[in-house]
């Protein structure tokens, strides 16, 4: 592109420009457009047909450190903490030792999050082996179970906090304290955007509300705010302030934008070498394109009936999360780098999230039913469209649950271990990595930390987790901190 930024005098360092223009939403192609009068002409870009067209840009995407296995991520966060011993971590010993105190078996005292510990409680759900690999899955996930040969199970993911919020921060940012950038930010920071019409990092919440921990779960912490996830709503306008207000016509908006561009252009000439002003002008162009493209990206009306059925949109119980999974696929197709879905949202915590303190059977049956078919549909759909190899799917919660009962009906929090799984990205499926102890209480073989999980994700995206650093307050921070290591079986 003859008028790309490269031909202009380099005023900022690349890093500074990316910071200021926001890496994530960087797509900038201003020069040629500015030379025309009326950038925002009626025949301009506010046309969904053109959303697939990538506007060339000198700034994004950025190059990975080595050949990536995947270019996009869909992260499925199960808010509230699903129970490993009732889903993917089959523990016959719970039946054998049912009703006995765990303390006697492991020989140490321990604390639980809510009140006092109960005795061991067998899973009320039936487990079976599935696929060629013979992975154990409980009856909660009949549809996901069909994909086990494509899934790598991490049976020893542990955390450091038994508090929802702090545990969620740890899984999302690596740190249990507030104020650190989330995985999606790091990925956006490392790889930039593939789309010049959409944000690079999109978040969608459960229909019942946001996850425990709120916007800090996808926040940018000490990084510039532009790296944070952009929250898309699954109904109405996807982004706040995206749509032109009702009392303003498109012609009126175009007139304002054209006048604005001319005045800003005149102003810029008074400030030689100030590329921030150029970036501001182009940010209006991207805003204009997003107005057309963001609604198109999540408009599922054009999808076939068969596709909708695949995601369970025809059933009330699967419709909400199915819609989000389908939107996630559409976003990935359109170049969104990182899609973060939250399953479970804060309304009534014990029932609206996986936080099954008081009724394990009812709670997990509901949430599994809501998500099983949609997630299986997503895996099938991505595979059929040839996107599964380039998309990493990650599934986990903030922690697992205790193998002991809470008042005979529920399970308390357990940061000691949970089962996470990854699929896509060319990962060897049908394998179980690490293991919890006999009771599913603590990670025993190959314990995997959030730092390890994050290092693995970065590696699959072609980023060297040791080199991806951000300098803040005199220290080069890493998502994987100082001890994270990619999981060898997954990156093999």
């Amino acid at each position: 592109m003859g008028h790309s930024h490269n031909n202009k005098k380099k005023i900022w360092s690349r890093r500074e420009f990316l910071m200021r223009s926001g890496g994530g939403i960087a797509g900038v192609a201003l020069a040629s457009m500015l030379e025309r009068d009326g950038v925002f002409a009626a025949e301009g870009l506010l046309n969904a047909d053109q959303c697939g067209v990538q506007v060339p840009s000198a700034f994004s995407p950025k190059l990975p450190d080595f050949a990536p296995r995947a270019t996009n991520v869909i992260s499925l966060f199960m808010s509230g903490g699903p129970s490993q011993v009732d889903t993917f971590d089959y523990k016959p010993s719970l039946t054998k030792y049912a009703g006995q105190p765990l303390e006697d078996l492991i020989g140490t005292k321990f604390a639980v999050r809510q009140g006092m510990p109960g005795p061991l409680m067998p899973s009320p759900f039936e487990f079976k082996q599935h696929g060629d690999s013979g992975m154990w899955v409980s009856e909660l996930f009949p549809h996901i179970a069909k994909h086990v040969d494509e899934m790598a199970f991490i049976k020893s993911l542990y955390g450091r906090s038994n508090d929802h919020i702090q545990a969620t921060y740890e899984m999302q940012t690596g740190q249990i304290r507030m104020g650190f950038p989330s995985v999606g930010c790091w990925v956006t920071y490392g790889l930039g955007s593939e789309s010049s019409n959409l944000p690079a990092f999109v978040v969608m919440n459960d229909y019942r509300g946001g996850p425990l921990g709120g916007p800090n779960d996808w926040g940018s912490g000490f990084m510039p705010a532009s790296y944070q996830g952009t929250l898309f709503r699954s109904s109405g306008d996807p982004i706040v302030d995206l749509e032109t207000p009702q009392n303003m016509t498109q012609d009126q908006q175009r007139a304002r934008l054209n006048a604005l561009a001319r005045l800003n252009q005149m102003d810029m000439e008074k400030y030689p070498g100030n590329s921030e002003l150029a970036a501001r002008i182009s940010s209006y162009e991207l805003a204009y394109r997003m107005q057309g493209c963001a609604p198109e990206a999540i408009d599922i009306s054009a999808e076939s009936e068969a596709t909708k059925k695949l995601y369970g949109l025809d059933e009330a119980i699967t419709q909400p999360f199915g819609t989000q999974c389908l939107m996630a696929r559409r976003l990935v197709e359109r170049g969104v780098r990182f899609v973060q879905l939250f399953m479970g949202g804060v309304g009534v915590q014990n029932t609206d999230t996986w936080d099954a303190h008081s009724n394990l059977v009812e709670n997990h049956t509901l949430h599994a039913k809501e998500s099983d078919l949609p997630i299986a549909g997503l895996l099938t759909d991505l595979k059929e469209r040839g996107l599964l190899d380039s998309t990493l799917i990650v599934w986990h919660g903030e922690f697992g649950r205790m193998p002991i009962s809470q008042r005979g009906v529920g399970r308390d929090h357990n940061p000691g271990t949970q089962t996470a799984w990854m699929a896509g990205a060319g990962i060897q499926g049908g394998q179980a990595i690490g293991a919890s102890d006999e009771w599913g209480y603590k990670a025993e073989q190959q314990p995997v930390s959030a730092h390890d999980m994050h290092a693995t994700m970065l590696h699959l995206l072609g980023l060297d987790h040791e080199k991806l650093t951000y300098r803040y307050s005199g220290r080069d921070y890493r998502l994987s901190d100082i001890e994270g290591k990619p999981i060898p079986q997954i990156i093999a």
């Binding site: 926001g22 009703g99 809510q114 705010a225 207000p245 921030e276 220290r475």
Partner: protein
């Protein structure tokens, strides 16, 4: 991978064995065979090399934990050539013969460098144990002093009164210093900006509000030589000055109106601290006093509500606000929050990096960290009635006495209700829980299996609805209970009305912290850890208050306490022997925080004045002389004009720590008055980033200022100063994304919420969307300088946000009233109010087209979107 795992195991064992010896260095020395490596080299390596060059952490590929690894070397080649120190990189870099000098941070002493040289020359032998990589964390308790060389670093030297550079054409000292540096590089300064640009710059800078057309006229009319000074004086006297500069300090103080975390409890009186800060700036409270009040406002000889409110600084960070007593690590996190804030905010040092080990880059010892935590270890958060001192004490005594009486009667009520509650519990368990649970409850305690005991204990903590208790209770018991209840009413009728309660910090004993808001959320009093012996949360005589034991924490682990610490400060920045405890006449607090405050604000503290002067400079000039405002250490940016910084720091202290004088000093320089619209290719070649200040640096307004300037321009702004926070409208769908807890009293858009952005409620778990879009910093940690991004969501907000559009309409309406039917005049007025200048011919043309084909609102809305509108330039 396998090799690593195998080799790690024996080390772990060594580590564990070692922990118990941490504070007994002599034992270690005796247990090793006498050897040069063990006695001389190993301590150096442990302290300065192995943090970064070990088997686990190989900076530059180099592992110095074993002879083999050191000989193999890193990406630069072998580190050691045995027998030849001069050829050994290790020695060369330690001795500064080759860059980069090692270790980062504090250079070794001459004698240590000599020891390394001799050791290499004699063959660089490792003795037994040398391959055991023990992180220096384990040894930190030993390091009690820093080498003298560490004190040579510029920021730890006391600033000296610098002689003004000579031979300059400038009169102003600041310009003399700047000119000297510019000359060295041959860059040419920009000419002065025009009067209107300067007027707008000064207004935005000092008050965060644009000049009104009347103010503009008055300034233009003042043709005296002192017009500029008059303007500065007038702005410094404005109450809006304190709002603007108070906001900068609130960034440092990580201020918010809620606790954060899961419950995000409302801090209903936090705003009083915010107002305290605003007032402090408006009064030009000397900075040393300002800091002292915030660190130790409860310990002063004369305490007032203001000084007590000031301690809100210490507790302004995020807090979980429950289960504190059962989670000792939380208290350490709070202390760390305070240390980090004082360190980065006041001292410009990342002291908190030394929580688990000696600082990796700066000469800050882990010992320093725990000496400083000892200095604040009395720290407890409490509430204090906003009443005259005697009345306040009376109020506290009275309420605690009433509380005791009420709880005694409550206990009697509970005794009456308990049998009914128990019956109802059993009924509920039978109905709502599985059979095995019910069986466990029915089985007599002695016959229960271990598992049944657990189940029974768990399930018996369930609650039953109050209405059921009432409906099953006998009439007699109801009557008895009613009598008791009326007793409570009688007691309560004596309860004094609750005055506003100040959210303060004082000394106390954290082990007796009363239940917090969130303790009831858990609702399991049986699960709480009880104190080992009776004691009180706040000390109220007899005798003097004693600080609870403040331990050193091994590796920063709250469950691995080391020796008890006495208070002290940063070793490397301590001159003389400052007091570490200043006994208070009333004996209620320790006086340790007062001593800390005195050290911080002493003329013998090399950091505090420099750091503040630098922050003020940053806000005026867009970049600090030290660009990393919160980090004056080795890995922070080095000063561009150290002599100037030191000169100003000395002036500042000599002139009585007056921030207003500092503003005037900086703003009366020619450097401040330079144009920003100035190009010079040669300058760009020499100094791309404008470090030498050859033109004024344009700065995008902060989030709050963008909103304020919009409202001030439209004329809609309500400029009332101080008071309770406001809650401007947030669409429900955004509120839905936040967590369930936390306060937001959504108010519809309108004049009641058109107050300055400073007053918008700061909720930790939900940023106000407009602010977030314009780079509101994280509110949970002290902010250095704000980021400035230029992204599409900012454009969307300014284009489509209903508040912005409403303000554009208001702006248009106001102009219309002043100049009906006269489009040219309307355009002029829009430019004068919006941009403090008249439009150019070309701009008039664009404006006219816009207004004539649409409306005046089209133009006023466009003005809010102009780059020029969003910048101080």
């Amino acid at each position: 991978m396998r090799a690593l795992l195998v080799s790690l195991k024996p080390k772990r064992a060594f580590l564990t064995a070692f922990l118990s010896l941490v504070c007994a260095p002599s034992l270690i020395a005796q247990s090793e065979s006498p050897n040069v490596f063990t006695h001389e080299i190993r301590p150096i390596m442990e302290r300065t090399c192995w943090n970064c060059h070990s088997e686990q952490v190989k900076s530059s590929g180099l592992d110095l934990s074993s002879r083999e690894a050191a000989l193999a070397g890193g990406i630069r080649g072998p580190a050691i050539v045995p027998g030849n120190a001069e050829e050994s990189r290790l020695y060369r870099q330690l001795a500064g013969l080759e860059g980069p000098s090692m270790p980062l941070g504090v250079p070794l002493d001459e004698s240590e460098i000599e020891a390394v040289k001799n050791w290499i020359n004699s063959g660089a032998e490792w003795d037994e144990g040398g391959t055991s990589v023990v992180s220096s964390d384990q040894f930190s308790a030993f390091a009690t002093d820093v080498p003298d060389s560490a004190r040579q670093y510029w920021a730890f030297q006391l600033p000296k009164q610098q002689a003004l550079p000579t031979g300059s054409n400038y009169d102003h000292p600041i310009d003399k210093f700047l000119e000297a540096k510019r000359r060295e590089s041959g860059v040419i300064p920009a000419p002065s900006a025009d009067k209107l640009t300067l007027l707008r710059r000064a207004h935005l800078d000092l008050t965060g509000l644009p000049p009104s057309p009347e103010e503009t006229e008055a300034f233009l009319a003042d043709t005296s030589a002192a017009a500029w000074e008059h303007l500065i004086d007038r702005l410094l006297a404005s109450p809006h000055y304190g709002e603007r500069w108070g906001r900068h300090w609130l960034d440092v103080a990580r201020y918010a109106d809620s606790d954060g975390y899961e419950q995000d409890v409302d801090r209903s009186n936090a705003w009083r601290y915010r107002d305290y800060v605003v007032d402090a700036f408006n009064e030009d409270k000397p900075y040393d006093q300002f800091i002292t009040e915030q660190i130790a406002g409860d310990e002063l000889d004369v305490t007032t509500h203001d000084t007590r409110i000031a301690t809100g600084f210490l507790r302004a960070g995020p807090r979980v606000n429950f289960r504190e007593k059962d989670n000792p690590e939380r208290r350490w996190d709070y202390l760390d929050d305070v240390i980090a804030t004082v360190g980065r905010g006041v001292l410009g040092m990342t002291v908190h990096c030394a929580r688990c080990h000696d600082h990796k880059f700066d000469p800050i010892l882990q010992k320093d960290y725990y000496s400083m935590t000892a200095a604040i270890f009395g720290y407890v958060e409490t509430e204090y009635p906003m009443l005259p001192e005697e009345q306040a004490r009376e109020y506290l005594l009275k309420t605690s006495e009433l509380d005791e009486r009420v709880s005694a009667v409550r206990e009697q009520i509970r005794a009456i209700e308990q049998p009914y509650v128990d019956d109802l519990k059993v009924a509920r368990i039978e109905r709502d829980f599985p059979v095995d649970v019910f069986e466990a409850v029915l089985t007599a305690d002695k016959d229960r299996t271990d598992g049944q005991k657990l189940l029974a204990a768990q399930v018996l903590t369930i609650g039953v609805p109050r209405s059921q208790v009432d409906s099953t209770m006998s009439e007699l018991d109801k009557t008895r209970r009613a009598v008791l209840r009326s007793q409570i009413e009688g007691i309560e009728s004596n309860r004094p009305e609750e005055p506003p309660m100040l959210e303060i910090v004082t000394d106390g004993d954290y082990r007796y912290t009363p239940d917090r808001a969130g303790d009831n959320v858990l609702g399991c009093p049986e699960c709480r850890i009880k104190p080992e012996q009776p004691g009180s949360f706040l000390h109220d005589g007899p005798g003097r208050y004693e600080v609870p034991p403040a331990p050193f924490l091994i590796r920063g682990d709250p469950f691995s306490p080391g020796p008890e610490m006495t208070p002290a400060f940063l070793t490397v920045a301590t001159y003389g022997e400052p007091l570490t405890e200043i006994p208070r006449p009333n004996g209620r607090t320790s006086g340790r925080r007062l001593a800390l405050a005195q050290w911080l604000t002493s003329a013998e503290n090399p950091l505090t004045s420099r750091v503040w002067v630098n922050r003020v400079w940053h806000h005026h000039f867009g970049r600090g002389i030290v660009a990393t405002l919160d980090n004056f250490g080795r890995v922070g940016d080095q000063p561009t004009h150290q002599e100037l910084l030191d000169w100003m720091a000395v002036e500042f202290v000599d002139q009585g720590w007056s921030t207003k004088d500092l503003h005037k000093l900086m703003m009366t320089s020619e450097a401040y008055k330079m144009a920003s619209a100035y190009g010079n290719d040669a300058n760009v070649q020499n100094d791309l980033e404008n470090h030498l200040l050859w033109r004024y640096r344009p700065q995008r307004l902060e989030a709050e200022a963008v909103r304020d300037v919009i409202m001030a321009t439209s004329g809609g702004i309500d400029l009332a100063v101080g008071g309770e926070p406001i809650f401007p409208y947030i669409p429900q769908e955004i509120l839905d994304t936040a967590q369930a807890y936390g306060r937001w009293d959504n108010q519809l858009d309108g004049p009641e919420v058109w107050r300055r952005s400073l007053y918008v409620y700061r909720r930790r778990t939900l940023s106000f969307p407009f602010f977030e879009t314009f780079d509101l910093p994280d509110q949970n940690i002290t902010t250095a300088s704000r980021n400035t991004s230029t992204v599409a969501p900012q454009a969307l907000t300014l284009l489509n946000n209903p508040f912005v559009l409403g303000q554009a309409e208001l702006f248009a309406k106001e102009i219309q009233e002043r100049a009906p039917y006269d489009v040219d005049r309307q355009i002029e007025l829009a430019y004068q109010s919006g941009l403090t200048r008249l439009p150019t011919v070309a701009e008039r043309e664009v404006g006219r087209q816009l207004v004539e084909s649409g409306s005046l609102t089209d133009l006023t809305h466009v003005i809010f979107n102009l780059s020029e509108f969003l910048y101080k330039r």
